[in-house]
Symmetry: D2
Subunit: 104 residues, 4 copies
């Protein structure tokens, strides 16, 4: 993960793109790329694996830049969030259902 | 990264949620969470770091599940995409500008 | 509005596209097009008016199709929602602030 | 449509919210609300009609504000875009298929 972050940040640095990468602009970029990923599934659940790989990579790329920009570790925030989610969705209540926590 | 993936997948398994996690549903989920992340910046560029951490974590979490579901390595697809992007945005043309490749 | 709806529905009928327009697929389409609209503002607040018009039109187009598909009147649902929003955001509390209702 | 626009704009004016409604912020808002609409279909194609009505209304509401803000007529831009789309998707080629124009 650390190595990947360094490569992503280096790529941005080489192009002097850091000036465009405010947290706000990165949040927009993640939404935009998420929309392109969703487009792979617009009309049905079949998908072209190469397109999905490219679009998913774009989302992850901007997530790494966002984490770097706001100074957090991607792994750590996912682990922290899982703890919170575990409380909202305890195994005994959430098992096998997709119900939202406020209706569980 | 591998360790994180295992924890995320394990969390899902414990709750028997894998049945809901088709690639299509995960693509929807990534878009939905990206929208929640964007909401942290809806009216201005200030943000609550705790909210951003939580929402960014949700996006990354679903990206990891998606990569696992379609059988690809998150790190590898980002590196592969960077190679393609490097060709679309060569340093000498793209340096310091946010212009889209088709207008460079 | 009624005339516009008829034209949009007719366009779809001519192409036999109604089969793809499940509410779920239309919801995906609205998100995808909203992402394309957002792309007009990805790196700054300047925008190309022609691009914005095209992308905004796509969002509205799918909204009209969605309303038609689920059998509701676009105008009526906006008016109904405004009544609810007025209760969440009474003028005296919400005036001049962008605070979310749960923090007002 | 004109009457609806007036009510939506009036609602905003009463709350002095126009200051937050830059085209950029409205584009973000449309994406955010589109994500909430998509959430109604996150795990399957069943939906709660009341929730869908509310979320669709939010998207339409922000689209009306955006059109007003950039000084265009919602109906006209949809008609204009339909003309362009008709050229990209002529009936004889597009009939009954969901293929994107660049692959038709």
């Amino acid at each position: 993960m650390k190595e990947l972050k360094e490569k992503v940040v280096e790529f941005t640095k080489e192009r002097d793109w850091d000036q465009f990468h405010s947290p706000e602009n990165l949040a927009k970029s993640i939404s935009i790329e998420a929309g392109e990923l969703l487009e792979c599934f617009q009309w049905n659940s079949n998908y072209d694996i190469e397109e999905v790989k490219d679009e998913l990579a774009d989302v992850i790329n901007y997530c790494i830049l966002m984490a770097d920009k706001i100074g957090v570790d991607p792994k750590q925030i996912v682990l922290d969030k899982m703890e919170k989610t575990a409380k909202k969705y305890p195994v005994e209540k959430a098992k096998g259902v997709s119900t939202k926590y406020n209706k569980l």
